[in-house]
């Protein structure tokens, strides 16, 4: 009850713009940023291996090397308030690597990371509801670019469902029903082209044994190295207003990024540069 009241107040406060500030805009690409982490597939069975990718941007970084450390462990209970870390977990696996592909002139790229194998005993002692709905295997990356360090994490879901989640897919950005292939003039509305079937239906097993069915809500997060989007995110296939810069900068391309997420760990992205 107390928390619900907190929710009402929080939503009312932030939605009404009472928290106005001069914070940096989330949608503006500048400096080193981690924009997404993709596991393919995002949901699997115990003992399976998934492919990993990171979407990174380092506008102004000059193509520097990015190093990373990755830690893998069973989920400490992030969904219930635990800190998203593998520190102190007995099953932690650690490895490191470097990335040299954030180069001119976009300085923004999808980077392939080593595959990850979900432990085969991840269901150990977990109840049937958890096994069906999914048990998370935590992947924590610590990226370092120059003096900037960013910790980013992702959950790979292991479940006993017969039909498991897949990543949604964004294949194009359009303006006026045409593919966006050049820097637009002025302000335009940019739409994501999302592959049909990305918005999946999924079951949830309740504690009392009943099953509820839901449909995914897709969210697209927009980023721009230059110019600005009016909204940070759009829903499903809704568009977003983009005000383009007068001309592209000389030291890097103008980069637009759309990252689509399904709210269940599935995600993919599209990069356009001009």
């Amino acid at each position: 009850m107390k928390h619900l009241l907190l929710l009402v107040i929080a939503v009312s406060t932030f939605a009404s713009g009472c928290g106005k500030d001069n914070f940096p805009r989330y949608t503006t690409l500048s400096g080193f940023r981690v924009l997404g982490l993709k596991a393919t597939p995002p949901e699997t069975t115990p003992g399976s291996t998934v492919a990993m990718q990171a979407l990174l941007s380092d506008i102004g970084g000059g193509g520097r090397t990015v190093s990373y450390t990755v830690q893998l462990c069973s989920d400490p209970g992030i969904g219930f308030g635990s800190d998203p870390t593998c520190s102190g977990r007995s099953d932690t696996i650690t490895s490191t690597g470097t990335i040299n592909t954030l180069t001119a002139n976009t300085y923004t790229a999808a980077v392939t990371l080593p595959n990850i194998t979900v432990p085969s005993n991840i269901f150990s002692s977990r109840n049937i509801v958890d096994q069906y709905n999914g048990v998370a295997y935590l992947v924590v990356y610590t990226f370092v670019a120059g003096t900037t360090q960013i910790v980013a994490f992702k959950r790979i879901i292991a479940s006993s469902k017969s039909i498991q989640n897949t990543n949604p897919s964004i294949i194009d950005m359009t303006v006026n029903n045409a593919s966006l292939t050049a820097l637009p003039n002025g302000t335009v509305t940019v739409y994501p082209s999302i592959v049909s079937g990305s918005q999946e239906n999924f079951p949830v097993l309740n504690g009392n044994g009943t099953t509820s069915y839901f449909q995914e809500n897709l969210t697209v997060t927009w980023f721009a190295s230059d110019g600005s989007f009016s909204h940070q995110r759009s829903q499903n296939t809704d568009g977003n207003s983009y005000s383009a810069p007068g001309s592209s900068p000389t030291d890097h391309a103008t980069v637009l990024v759309g990252v689509v997420r399904d709210g269940r760990g599935g995600e993919s992205w599209l990069i356009r540069s001009f």
Partner: protein, 763 residues
């Protein structure tokens, strides 16, 4: 000769008769107080006839009003005359009038104006309750004109010692360092889930219908329970029975009305209703924003009704009813920036009602029984996109008490205090985690769905004894309460002894303490959202206090009270993100009883009256600590080291009054954010907390002023007030908001200077 004699005799007699027997009239009427029409009893009313010539001596006729204000005078010469009423405390009345013999003589209505109608004091002082000395009482005269609270009876509670200032945008009552879940609210003896509209804008009660508000603090008696911090109770006043009364009030956010009066000789009623238009004000102020469309403007309304009747000479029936509703809807144009799971339509509605019959039966001079039933429904609906919380609860409360003066030295109260709840809850929500008062994004909480049909009962039985030790100044109170909570299947004895020592007529020393339990919150024992193994949290209270009335019978002077309190909190329910083996399977623990804490403090209040001035000062010094596994001991979220309140008022001529309030408190504790991690699944950053509540917001201070003016008409009164909140426009920092990666912060300020107006007409 005889004829001459008869003529002279006749003329003499006629002349004599003409001088001693002028034509006279009878006058009758009613003397009432101007504006209120309250009958004035025992007041001298003079009639002074207009002399027919300047040489004629002025005569004067006097009568006295009866208990209904009626008067009657015979033998007043016909013609012009003047009514004169000169009574202490009233403006002298001189009113010319005329009446001829034989003409129709209407009953006169004379209206006598009081010197001042600003009868309400703005200062607040702790009155020693007849049962518990530590209980603080606010009467109507205190809360109706308290600066900064808009006349609200429950918001004025914050002006009492030992009541902590809540965090901003809230009016929850925090008693002596306890949390909001440790305070229970009562309306006419029956528990209600909430007493404020929309995060504390105003309470759900029309102030004019309320008689008093009581705050039960550390060491409160056995009659009440299930609240480890204390209770706040509001009681409606007795409807007036002399005639029909009404009022209509209008202020910045609401309009409301009250009607009351007699029903026959033995019964009376009072009804109130109030409707807000805050939504229209908000819509006019903000319109539809880039972030959202206001689809249903915020609105609230409330109503109450009271019926009282002396059924017999020994039986009194009171039936009261309360209802309240709040609603708000808006459509987010994009998912919330900091938490994209909050998206689309946002819908919030809350409502409750209570129907409360109460019967009091006097068995004789020394024994009385009281029974109270309370039936009601609570409803809450919060929906954001696919996530929702829907609660529909029916509640039946039953209280009974038998009071008897068994002997000169022993008085006892035996009673029961039961509550039965039927709850229907439908929840589809992500897990909330707000460790250290910092909320994780809802987007990353595990979403769980549950439909719960639950029945709870909480039963209490108590015995209160007041034993005067003969030939000493001691009164011992060996009190006991026994509680049963079906949620935890616990029978719990709670001894609550107390002692009083009457040093002299003006100085009382007192001590009280004991054991207090409250049932866990329903979600804390729910198999899906909570932990069925949770037990009832408990608190040990100790309170030592003194009250000294330096007035000693005088109308002017000091009244000082002080209390030292100590509370030990055990088995506190705290969130757990660990896993436990339940029924052979690993599952989330959600909550456990591993929290503990303590509160130690001292509070004092000094009040000085010297009409037309009134002044009150409060000070509370306290330290409230909490412990839980994985964290060093930390200050409670509601810890406030120093609380200072200065209140004053003055009644001015022409029915003006001015009151003011200054408040200071130590800044609220907050948890620093040490770092943040990017949650790539949900596109949010997860805060990594530093030590819980290890820093504080800046100290708080605020000055409020209130001006009241009344215009008195013969049969009604018009009142206007201007309540200026935060006169100095001091920007108190109440919250911190963070950049998306928690690397930058920005302060959210409390309300700036905010004048509110109110207009009230009453007859």
């Amino acid at each position: 000769m005889l004829k001459q004699f008869i003529l002279v005799f006749t003329l003499t007699i006629a002349s004599s008769l003409a001088q001693t027997s002028p034509v006279t009239i009878s006058l009758e009427g009613r003397l009432v107080e101007r504006g209120t029409r309250k009958p004035l009893d025992g007041v001298a009313v003079y009639v002074v006839p207009q002399p027919s010539s300047s040489n004629e001596p002025q005569s004067r006729f006097k009568t006295t009003t009866d208990q209904n204000g009626n008067f009657h005078i015979n033998g007043v010469p016909e013609g012009s005359f003047t009514w004169i009423v000169n009574e202490a405390g009233f403006v002298k009345l001189e009113q010319t009038d005329s009446q001829l013999a034989g003409a129709n003589s209407d009953s006169r209505s004379l209206y006598l104006e009081r010197d001042s109608y600003q009868v309400y004091e703005t200062t607040v002082y702790g009155k020693e309750d007849k049962r518990d000395g530590s209980t603080k009482v606010l009467n109507r005269k205190h809360f109706m004109k308290a600066a900064g609270s808009g006349g609200d009876p429950l918001k004025a509670v914050q002006d009492l010692p030992g009541v902590n200032r809540p965090q901003s945008f809230s009016s929850q009552v925090l008693i002596q360092g306890s949390g909001p879940q440790d305070t229970q609210y009562l309306l006419n003896n029956v528990e209600v889930p909430l007493v404020f509209h929309f995060g504390g804008i105003t309470s759900v009660l029309l102030p004019e219908a309320i008689d008093r508000v009581e705050v039960f603090q550390a060491g409160y008696g056995p009659e009440w329970g299930r609240a480890n911090g204390g209770l706040v109770g509001a009681w409606t006043r007795e409807p007036r029975k002399d005639r029909l009364h009404g009022l209509l009030s209008v202020d910045t956010f609401t309009t409301g009305g009250l009607l009351e009066g007699p029903i026959g000789d033995r019964s009376r009623f009072l009804v109130t209703a109030r409707q807000s238009y805050i939504g229209q004000v908000v819509r006019a102020a903000v319109g539809n924003r880039p972030e959202f469309d206001l689809t249903v403007v915020p609105t609230y309304s409330d109503a109450s009704a009271v019926f009282e009747s002396e059924i017999t000479e020994r039986d009194k029936l009171q039936v009261s009813a309360f209802g309240s509703q709040d609603s708000l809807q808006f459509l987010l144009k994009e998912p919330l920036k900091t938490d994209p799971i909050v998206r689309g339509n946002f819908d919030n509605a809350t409502s409750f009602f209570r129907f409360i019959p109460q019967l009091t039966h006097k068995h004789g001079e020394t024994a009385t029984s009281r029974f109270t039933l309370g039936f009601g429904r609570d409803f809450i609906r919060i929906v954001t996109s696919d996530n929702y919380f829907k609660l529909n609860t029916y509640q039946l409360s039953a209280r009974g008490e038998f009071e008897n003066q068994f002997s000169e030295s022993w008085k006892a109260y035996f009673g029961f205090d039961n509550r039965f709840t039927w709850a229907n809850v439908d929840v589809n929500l992500p897990y909330f985690f707000a460790g250290g008062g910092v909320m994780n994004p809802l987007s990353e909480g595990t979403v769980r769905h549950s439909t719960v049909l639950a029945r709870y009962s909480a039963e209490g039985f108590y015995a209160r004894n007041e034993v005067k030790i003969p030939e000493t100044k001691f009164t011992l109170l060996p009190n006991l309460r026994i509680d049963y909570f079906s949620q935890t299947s616990e029978w719990i004895p709670e001894p609550r002894p107390a002692v009083r020592y009457a040093w002299n007529d003006s100085l009382t020393l007192r001590g009280a303490g004991g054991l207090y339990y409250q049932p866990p919150q329903p979600q804390e024992t729910d198999p899906t959202f909570g932990n069925p193994a949770i037990v009832a949290p408990r608190a040990w209270h100790l309170n030592l206090g003194a009250d000294k009335d330096f007035r000693e019978g005088s109308a002017h002077g000091w009244f000082v009270s002080g209390d030292a309190f100590y509370k030990i909190l055990q088995r506190l329910v705290v969130p757990s993100n660990g896993f436990v083996n339940r029924g052979g399977q690993l599952t989330t623990e959600n909550f456990n009883n591993n929290g503990s804490g303590s509160v130690i403090g001292f509070q004092t209040q000094a009040k000085y009256d010297a009409k037309p001035w009134s002044f009150s000062a409060i000070y509370t010094l306290s330290k409230s600590k909490r412990s839980q596994p994985g964290q060093p001991d930390y200050p409670s979220q509601y810890d406030s080291t120093h609380l200072i309140g200065l209140l004053g008022s003055v009644d001015l001529p022409r029915n003006w009054s001015i009151s003011g309030r200054f408040r200071y408190s130590t800044g609220n504790p907050k948890t620093p954010i040490a770092n943040a991690s990017f949650d790539a699944d949900n596109d949010v950053f997860t805060p990594i907390r530093g030590p819980y509540f290890s820093t504080r917001l800046p100290n708080f201070y605020q000055l409020d002023l209130r001006f009241d003016k009344k215009w008195i008409f013969d049969t009604w009164i018009l009142s206007l007030y201007l309540d200026i909140f935060n006169v100095t426009n001091h920007m108190n920092q109440e919250l911190l908001v963070y950049s998306y990666d928690y690397k930058q912060t920005s302060a959210v300020q409390d309300l700036p200077i905010l004048p509110t107006f109110g207009l009230k007409g009453e007859f």
